[in-house]
């Protein structure tokens, strides 16, 4: 989402950027306070690994602090940070590490516990079980997606970006965005089979 900053945000951001350019630590702290949660969610959605995501998040802030001179201000700081986070998350070196970890990390680890803890009172245990199985199926489907498909899905569902914005961000055609999303959903649907109940 190439969001232009509002007038108020602009002045705040301008100060923030100036502080970062002067190497001020309180500016870096403000930057982290504003963006760490959102970026962590975004990075986690791509890597699906908390530890890996934290490492990347740390690198994102360090890089932002050190390359702030390259920030031209034609987009918001949040858009600029997202670009750094995306590039770092999709980094080739990390990719293999991440794949290796995912082989040992199935997505049903909380299934039994959350069945007891999070069910609604009106639900029957069978309904809750089916719902949980459906959710686990969805997450397993997402985890099994090739990275190019998952990235498009992340930008659509987590960042709520339009097809146009995703195509600009990833430098792919709008039709490719649509096809990848369709393919991703098909694969997830295949994964969950008949576990889904609307």
């Amino acid at each position: 989402m190439t969001k232009k900053p509002t007038r108020e945000e602009y002045f705040c951001e301008k100060e923030l950027v100036r502080g970062l350019r002067q190497g001020r630590e309180n500016a870096l702290k403000a930057l982290m306070e504003r963006h760490e949660k959102h970026l962590y969610t975004l990075i986690y959605s791509i890597t699906l690994d908390c530890e890996e995501s934290l490492e990347i998040l740390q690198d994102v802030f360090i890089k932002a602090f050190q390359t702030i001179d390259q920030f031209r201000g034609d987009s918001s700081v949040s858009t600029w940070l997202r670009k750094i986070a995306l590039n770092m998350s999709l980094n080739l070196k990390r990719k293999w590490k991440q794949r290796l970890r995912q082989h040992h990390r199935p997505f049903d680890r909380n299934a039994d516990a959350s069945l007891v803890e999070t069910g609604r009172n009106t639900d029957t245990p069978e309904t809750r079980l089916a719902e949980k199985q459906g959710e686990n199926g969805i997450m397993a489907g997402i985890a099994g997606l090739p990275e190019n498909l998952r990235t498009v899905l992340v930008l659509k569902t987590m960042e709520n970006m339009s097809y146009d914005e995703i195509s600009r961000e990833l430098k792919i055609k709008k039709g490719t965005v649509s096809s990848r999303l369709h393919k991703a959903r098909q694969l997830i649907r295949d994964q969950i089979g008949d576990k889904f109940e609307s």
Partner: protein, 159 residues
């Protein structure tokens, strides 16, 4: 209803575009009408929406355990470590110090070179040459002459 059951009127891609808000107003309205009667498309829309919601809520749950203070401390330490290796900035500006020192050094070299080059044409007081000198127990006399102007200087020292 089986979510894989096909609808004859709309394809799955349309259901996805509807969920993504990518259909124009007219088509979105038509599709909204359609899913009232088509269980197959309704299920697909529900599934695609659930994929987004499940993904978002799962990610939010996982990242909610971020220990902000410890994380920021780690970032600060890493930044300080890298900063020590990094070039210093010119006081009061964001310009790296080497960006100022480098041109200043080059300018100093150029100015010094130019000064040496033009120094031949500039009047320089040359040291005098000693023509003769006499030393006695009570006084010393030294006769000198400047090289270019040939001026004679007599230096006398008495005890």
């Amino acid at each position: 209803m089986d979510i894989k059951e096909a609808c004859r009127q709309y394809d799955e891609k349309t259901a996805g575009m509807f969920v993504d808000g990518e259909l124009d107003q007219k088509r979105a309205g038509q599709f909204r009408e359609h899913i009232r009667d088509c269980g197959c498309c309704r299920n697909l829309v529900a599934l695609y929406s659930k994929v987004g919601n499940t993904f978002a809520s799962n990610a939010a749950d996982e990242v909610s355990f971020l220990e902000h203070t410890a994380f920021r401390k780690k970032v600060f330490e890493a930044v300080r470590k890298k900063e020590r290796k990094r070039v210093k900035r010119f006081p009061g500006t964001s310009t790296p110090l080497k960006n100022v020192l480098k041109p200043a050094f080059i300018a100093a070299i150029i100015i010094s070179g130019a000064f040496l080059l033009y120094s031949d044409s500039m009047p320089v007081k040359e040291p005098s040459a000693i023509v003769n000198s006499v030393y006695t127990d009570t006084a010393s006399v030294m006769i000198m002459e400047t090289r270019k102007e040939k001026h004679t200087i007599i230096w006398f020292s008495g005890s």
